[in-house]
Symmetry: D2
Subunit: 466 residues, 4 copies
C-alpha cells in the first residue's frame, strides 16, 4: 500500500464507434511506448461496464485485438483504455488501469496519466473520513474524492477535479446516460498531453476520440481537432460534446519537457509540435554548444536518432550506424554463471566494428539517466577499436526525480545527481561529455519557453512552492 | 457491481508456524469442496502483507503448494487463506479473496464465509458516506465499516462486527503488531462453522489454526480445540490468544443444516457432529418415513453415499454400485453438433448395466436442487433396463434460496419451488419420490434441533423477521 | 531414447460420424482412468491427417471438447484418439500418441495400448536396417515395421501385425481412401481389451466406434457389438467393415487379469464381464479364504469399494465409510519445510474418526503395489483410535513387473517382491494381512480361468517361454 | 508431411563452456532475426542428450535464459541451438529444431540452416528403403541418411554429408565420446554462412563456438577465428578440433547474396564483409544508377536504413526520418469490423507528417518482395501531404522463389514475378521506381562477384543445372 508507483502512462477514449474496444486496443498499441507494464480497456453497454486488463504488452493482454478468452467480452460503442509504465516494485494486477469502482448508484472507470503530487495530503484527508484503499495508485484517490463528494453530474465532477492539484490527464467512463458518458480532463498546469480527435466516415455520425498523443488518432485515422486545454473537462455523451472549465489554466503552464525530449513518439503532435523535429533541433543546438572534432556521429538507437541527425548535420560530420539495436530482446536474463550473466547485458546493442574501428566517435543520445547502458556501450566501442568516444546528450543533466508522473529511478541512481559533468565523464571513461544547456533548450521554443516544467534539471519548481 | 454472488466459501488461518503459506494451502486443499472458483492466501511479514490469489482450484493457483511464479513470494509464519464457491455470473478475479485493503495507516486482509443479509442497507448507508466500492462482494462491506469506524484495536473491531448482522464466519490478518495479528470471528447466530485448533510439536512453541471445518486441521495434524463461539471474536498475536464477545450468542442459534446435509466434508466435525454419521441417520430416518419395495439401493455418487448406506441398512435391501462417477470430468464441454453435446451431459455418471438390469431401484441422494442431473440419471437407468426407479431424498424439499451464504440457483430453478412432491415425481418420470420430512430431520438432533436454520425448506425464518 | 515407458493406455476410433474429433474426445474422457499423462486426437479429411495432442488430462488438452486454440482444427468424420498412462521418467510430448508418420506416399496415425515385449529384438533388427528412432515408445516400432515392409494394403498391414508378438491393441488411421480408413487390431493373445460398437441414428447411415472399453461406447450412446477378436484386424472404410485374421488366436488366451482387478472402469464390459461384479465376487471369495473377527469393513476409496462390498456381505460385517477420498487433490506438493511436506502425503484420504474409533477394522483394497499409501492409512487409522487394523487384498501378491503393458514400478518397489505375507504384515504394522489366492481368483472365472495371464503374481509366463 | 517449409534459420554450437545452454540461448538471441517461429537447445551430459524447444521467440521459449520450468533441465558444457524462420503453413512443434533421433546405439541432435534442393529424390530413395518420416523438414533427411549408412565415425558422417547436395550449414551433437562431440559442416557451394570462434578466459581452457553469424560470437565475447569452409566438416571433442573435407569447395561458390542484402544482421561479418557497409554501398550504387530530383530521402525502417544512408550521401539529398517503426507491434490483429481491420495494417509504420508534408520523397528499402506494406506506405505518405513518392530498391527485382533455404512467398505473390518495373510502379502508384541492377550489385564485390548465387533474380542457376 505504501510504495507509490509513478504513473507515466497512456490513455485513450472512444465514443460512438462500433467495435470501440478494438479501436481502443489499436490506440493503446500506438501508445505502447508510454507504458509496458499493464494494459486495460473498459467499455460501456446497456448501463453496465465491461472490463479486461492484464499485465504485459497490449499484444499479450489483447492478442488479436481482443481478450484472449472471449473476444466478445468488451461490447459497446464507447470505451476507454490505459497502458501503464513498467515500475520496479509495485508491478501488480491490482494497480492496472482503468480502475473500476462504484459509489452511490453509479459505476465509473478511470484511466489516469500523471502523478498527484498532493497525494499524501489527499490520502490522509480521505483516510480520516474512513476511506478504504484497495490499490497503491494515486488514481484511486480521484475515485475516492468523487465518492466522498457524491459527484455525479458533470458540474459536480468538475468541482472534484478542481481539488486535485498537479498532475493529471485522465479519461473517465460512466455507463449512463446511454450509450455511456466519456469524460476527458487535464490539470490546469497542462503537465501531460491530451488531445481530441474525430473520425468522420461517409453515412455515419461522427465518432470522437481522445488520446495522450496524436499517434493514437493516426492509428485509427481519426483527425486531430485540438488539445484538451489545461483546466478543461470535456464531456461526450448522447447530448454531444460539452466543455467545462473546472479551473483556469495556469500562467505560465508547466508542460513536461521530457515529453518532447524522449517520452512521446517522434511522429506525434505534442503541445503543438512534432517531437522528432524538436529533437533534431536539440541536436543542432547541442552541436553549437558542444562541438567536437570527430570522424563520425553515432546515434544510440533508437532514442538518440533524431538528435544525432541534427547534431551531424549542424557540425557536418557524417552520421554512421555504429550501433545496431536488437529489437527482439526480452526483459530479463537470469543466469547463475558469471560469464553468461555478464554477456547478457550486451544483448540490446551491437557494434558494427568496421564502422567504428579507428574512428573518433561522437555518441549522441536524447538523455542520460542511470548511465549504466551508456557506460557499457562506451567501453564496448573502445574494445571494438574506437580511437575516441565523445558523448553528447541532447538535454540538460537530469538531477532530480519527477514529482509529476515520469517514472525516474531514485535520486541516488541518477548519474547526474550530486555529480559534476566532469565527474560523470570520468565515471563513464569518456574522452569528453557535453550536455545541452537549459537555456539552449528552452530557447528552441521561443515564446513558449516559459510554459515548460524544468524541475528534473533545476530540482525545484519555484512556480509551485509559493 | 450489482450482482451479489453468494459466498459459500472456506477459510483458514495459521499463526506461529514456519512456512505458514504452504500450511494454509494444505488447509485450503482440505476445504476445496467449499469453493472451486478461486483460491488465495495472504501472509504477514515485517509489517507488510503478501498476497497471491487466482481463479480455479487450489492445485492450479498454488501448483506444488506455492504460487506458480516465485515460490518464496508468501513469506512469514502467519497466514490466512480462502476458497470461493463457483458462482454463475460474478466469477471474477476482483472478487477473489482474501481481500486486501488499507485504511488509516493500516493494511488488513479478510477472508469471509457467509452472506451479509443486510448488505443492501449497509451498502446504502456506506454509499451515503462516500464509500467507494471496488468489488461486488459483501465482504468488502466489512472492510468499509472498519474504515468508516476507524477501527484498529480489537475492541474497536469488535464494535464493528456487532453491526454486521447475519451471516459470517471470517478471518482477518493485520501485519502489526509483529509477527502479525490473526483475528477469527463468527456471527451471533452461528450460521457457518468455524473451529480452532492447535499444533504442538516437540521443542517448538504451539501454533494456532482456525478453519471452516476440522478436516483442514486434520490435514496438517493440528488438534481440534473447540468451535469459535457464535458472537465470539478470537485475537491471536504476540500476546497470545484472547477472546472478545462482540455480541451475545442468539438463542436459539441458526446453524445451517445444509452443512450437515451436503456442504461439509463427511469426515469433518461440524457443530459437534460428524456429517457422515448425520447423513447415515438421515438415510435411516428416510427409510422409516418413505419405505419402498425394491431390489437394490443405489446411491448417487458421491453425494448420496452416506444416506444410501443408512437407508439400505434400515430397510434391509442390498446397497449396490449401480452408478459410477467419473472424477476426471472437467467443467464444461462445448460442442456445436447436437449429438456430441447431448452425449456430454452423460460424462459425470456411468451406469453399471448388469447391476441395474431388471431391478427395482431405490436411488438415494442427499438433496434435490435443480433436478436436471437426476432426471438424466433416472432416464438412463430405465434405458439400461431398470424395472422401477424410486427416488429418495435425505432432506426436505428445497423450496427457497438461501439468504445466508449457500450458493443456490434462483427460486425458479429450484425444482421444488411451487411444485408438489407428486408434480416433481411426474416431471422426473419416477415410479415414486419421497423426501425426509422436516420434523423427521430435526428429530435426529434431539435437544439441539431448535438451533438450526430451516429457511430453505420453510421459506422464511420466523426467528429473524420480528 | 533408452527408457522404455509402459504403455497402459486407452484408445478410441470413430468412423462416419460428423464432429468425429469431439466424439473421440468424449470417448477419451470415459477412458481417462487408463492414462492421465497425455491425450491426443487425429482426424482425416480430404486425404490429410489433422492432429492435436498435449500433456495432461483430456480436459486440459481439449478444453470444451476441442483444442484450446482453433476449435475447428480437427475436421472430418473419422478420428482416432489416445490417452497415455503417467510414467515417472519418460513423460514427454514427443512420446504422446497418436503418433503420426509418413512412409512411401502415405501418412498414418497410430494409437497403441500395450507393450511389445519383443521390442529390443525388433528395435535391434530395425536399427541394423538403418531405422531412425524419434521417440522412446514401442509404438514407433509398429510404424517402422510398416515402413520397412512398405505395407499399404490391409493384407500387407496384416502381415506386419503378425510379426509383433505380444502385447497390443491398436487403432490406425489412414487418410486414404476417402474419407479415411480406420484399422483396429488386437494381438493373438488378447492381452488388452478392444471392443467394437455402432451408433445408429434415424435418417443417418450407421457410425462405427472402436474403444478400449465399453464405457467409451456408452459415453456416446454407441451400442456394443462385439470384441475385436485376438488375432483379428478390422478395416473400416468407404467399402464398409472387413475383418482379416492376421494370426490365429492363441489357445489359451492371456487376457490381463488386472483389467478386471483394478484397471478397467467398474461399469465397462471387459472380456465379456463387468469389473464391478468381478471385484465383488473377489471380495466374497476373499472373505471365505481370509475371514477375520472385526467390527466394520472399511474400503480404501475408490479402488477397494466393490471388493469391500463383496467382503462385507459375505462375512456379514457392516460396511462403513471410515475413509473419505479428496478428489480435488492435485498431483504433487513440493514443500521445503519438513512439516508441510509430511502433511502433504495425507491429502488424498481422510479418516472419519467417529466411525473408526474403538473399532476392529478390516481394510479392503483391490491390490497392494508399493504399499506406501496403505502404510500411512493404517498408521492414521490407529492414531484415530482404531483398535485393530486388518488388511485384506482382493488379489494375489503382486510380485513381478508386467512385460505386457501395465505401468508397474520397478521390481524392488513392489512391496511383495521377495517378501512373505508375514513380512509385509510386519512392515505395514498390521494386525493381520490376507490376500486372495491365485486359485481362488481364477476359480471365479470358471471355464475361462485358463484364458488369463497371471505373470505378475507367478513371475513367469510358462505359456510364453517354450 | 507434404508441405516443405523453407529453412532459413540460425544455428549455434558451444563446446567446453560451463552453462553451455545459457550461452547457446544468448547466441540464439543474437540470431533471432534469422528465425522467429521456434527455438530450441540441446545439451549433452554423461552420454545423454537433454532438449528443450518451443514455438515462438527465444525470449518466450527460454524466459530468463532457460526453460520456463526447470532451469536446470539443460545441464552440460556442450550445446547446440536453433531458431527457425516463421513459415505460413507448416508451423508446428514437431518441426522445431534441433531434431533428436536415435540410430544404432547412438543418439544425435541436429540443427540445420538451408534447404536440401534434392530433397524429393532423397526422400523417395529413403522411402523405398523403408524410412519412416516423422516431420516435414528436409533436416530429417540428413538424420535418415546417417541412419541408413550407419554412420558413426566422423569419416562415415563425412561420407553421408557428401551425398546431400545444396544447401546446408549444420551443427550436430553426439553425447559420446564424453563430454559430447560437436560437429559443424557447410555444403560445398557455401550457400549459408557458418563461422568458428573461440572464447579464451584466464585460467580456463579455451571454449569453441560455431554460429551462423559473427554477431552470436560477439554476444558471448567469443573471438572470430574463421569461416567453416565450403565442403568442410569440423569435429570438436575431447581430442580437440579436427577438420575433414567431405567434398571439394565448388568453383565458383554460390554464397547467398540475400544474406548481405537483408538477411544477416548489419553488424555481423558475413562471407568476410559487414552487411551494413555492403548495404550502404548498394545505396550509393543505386543512387548512381537511379538518381531522382527530390527533397528528402526517407528510409523504410529498419530494413532500408543502411541503403538509404548510402543513397542520400551519394546523391546529396538530406536523409530524414519520415517514417517511424512501432517495435511493439504483435504479429496479427483479427478484427471483425471493417474499420478496425483496415486500421490495423497501419500499426507497423507511422508517418512524421511535418517531415513529409509538401516534399518530394525518395523512399528507400533493401528489397521489395510482396509489395503490400510498401503500397500502404506510399499511399499514406501521399495522404500525409507528400508531393511525390519515388521508390528505390537496393537490389534487383526478386522474381523467383529460393530453392536453397530463404523463406520467400510463392511465385505468384512476388510482386516482380511476371511484371515489368513500370507495371510494378503503376501498381504501387509511385511517381517513379528504380532497382539496383544485377551488374551494379555484383560489381560491388569485385573479384568475389562470381561467388554468389543470383537465382532469385535470374530465375535459374546455370551453375547447378548441367
Amino acid at each position: 500500500m505504501h510504495t507509490k508507483p509513478r504513473d507515466a502512462c497512456g490513455i485513450v477514449g472512444i465514443y460512438n464507434l462500433e467495435d470501440a474496444a478494438r479501436h481502443a486496443v489499436l490506440g493503446l498499441h500506438a501508445l505502447q511506448h508510454r507504458g509496458q507494464e499493464s494494459a486495460g480497456v473498459v467499455t460501456a453497454l446497456d448501463g453496465k461496464l465491461h472490463c479486461h486488463k492484464g499485465m504485459g504488452l497490449v499484444a499479450n493482454v489483447f492478442p488479436g485485438g481482443s481478450p484472449a478468452e472471449g473476444a466478445d467480452r468488451l461490447p459497446g460503442t464507447t470505451a476507454i483504455g490505459h497502458v501503464r509504465y513498467s515500475t520496479a516494485g509495485g508491478s501488480n494486477l491490482v494497480n492496472a488501469q482503468p480502475l473500476i469502482a462504484g459509489y452511490m448508484d453509479s459505476e465509473v472507470a478511470l484511466g489516469h496519466n500523471g502523478n498527484l503530487c498532493q497525494s499524501q495530503t489527499l490520502r490522509a484527508q480521505l483516510a480520516s473520513h474512513g476511506a478504504l484503499f484497495q490499490t497503491s495508485t494515486d488514481s484511486e484517490l480521484v475515485l475516492h474524492l468523487l465518492a466522498q463528494h457524491q459527484a455525479k453530474t458533470p458540474e459536480e465532477i468538475a468541482r472534484v477535479l478542481a481539488l486535485l492539484g498537479p498532475a493529471f490527464s485522465l479519461v473517465m467512463l460512466y455507463p449512463l446516460p446511454l450509450p455511456g458518458r466519456l469524460i476527458a480532463a487535464r490539470d490546469p498546469w497542462g503537465f501531460r498531453p491530451l488531445v481530441l480527435g474525430e473520425l468522420k466516415r461517409p453515412g455515419k455520425s461522427v465518432a470522437m476520440v481522445v488520446a495522450s498523443e496524436t499517434c493514437a488518432l493516426d492509428q485509427i485515422e481519426a483527425e486531430y481537432v485540438r488539445e484538451i486545454e489545461p483546466g478543461e473537462m470535456v464531456i461526450i455523451d448522447h447530448a454531444g460534446l460539452r466543455s467545462i472549465r473546472f479551473a483556469q489554466a495556469q500562467t505560465p503552464l508547466w508542460r513536461c519537457l521530457l515529453e518532447h525530449i524522449y517520452f512521446a513518439r517522434p511522429d506525434s503532435l505534442v503541445f503543438g509540435e512534432t517531437p522528432h523535429l524538436v529533437r533534431e533541433r536539440c541536436g543542432e543546438a547541442l552541436a553549437k554548444e558542444q562541438p567536437v572534432a570527430a570522424d563520425i556521429v553515432v546515434p544510440i538507437p533508437d532514442s538518440g536518432f533524431s538528435a544525432a541527425m541534427g547534431y551531424a548535420r549542424a557540425i557536418n560530420i557524417p552520421l554512421e550506424r555504429g550501433l545496431i539495436r536488437n529489437h527482439y530482446v526480452g526483459r530479463s536474463f537470469i543466469a547463475p554463471g558469471q560469464h553468461a550473466r555478464a554477456m547478457a547485458v550486451r544483448m540490446k546493442h551491437n557494434i558494427v566494428r568496421e564502422v567504428v574501428e579507428g574512428k573518433r566517435i561522437v555518441l549522441v543520445d536524447d538523455s542520460l539517466i542511470r548511465g549504466t547502458t551508456t557506460a557499457t556501450l562506451a567501453q564496448s566501442l573502445r574494445k571494438a577499436g574506437a580511437k575516441e568516444v565523445h558523448l553528447r546528450i541532447a538535454c540538460p543533466p537530469t538531477r532530480h526525480p519527477c514529482a509529476y508522473g515520469v517514472d525516474f529511478p531514485d535520486r541516488d541512481e541518477l548519474i547526474a545527481h550530486n555529480r559534476s559533468v566532469d565527474e560523470i565523464r570520468h565515471l563513464l571513461e569518456l574522452d569528453s561529455l557535453g550536455y545541452l544547456s537549459e537555456q539552449g533548450l528552452l530557447r528552441l521554443f521561443g515564446q513558449n519557453a516559459a510554459d515548460f516544467c524544468t524541475a528534473c534539471w533545476s530540482g525545484c519548481n519555484p512556480k509551485l512552492e509559493p
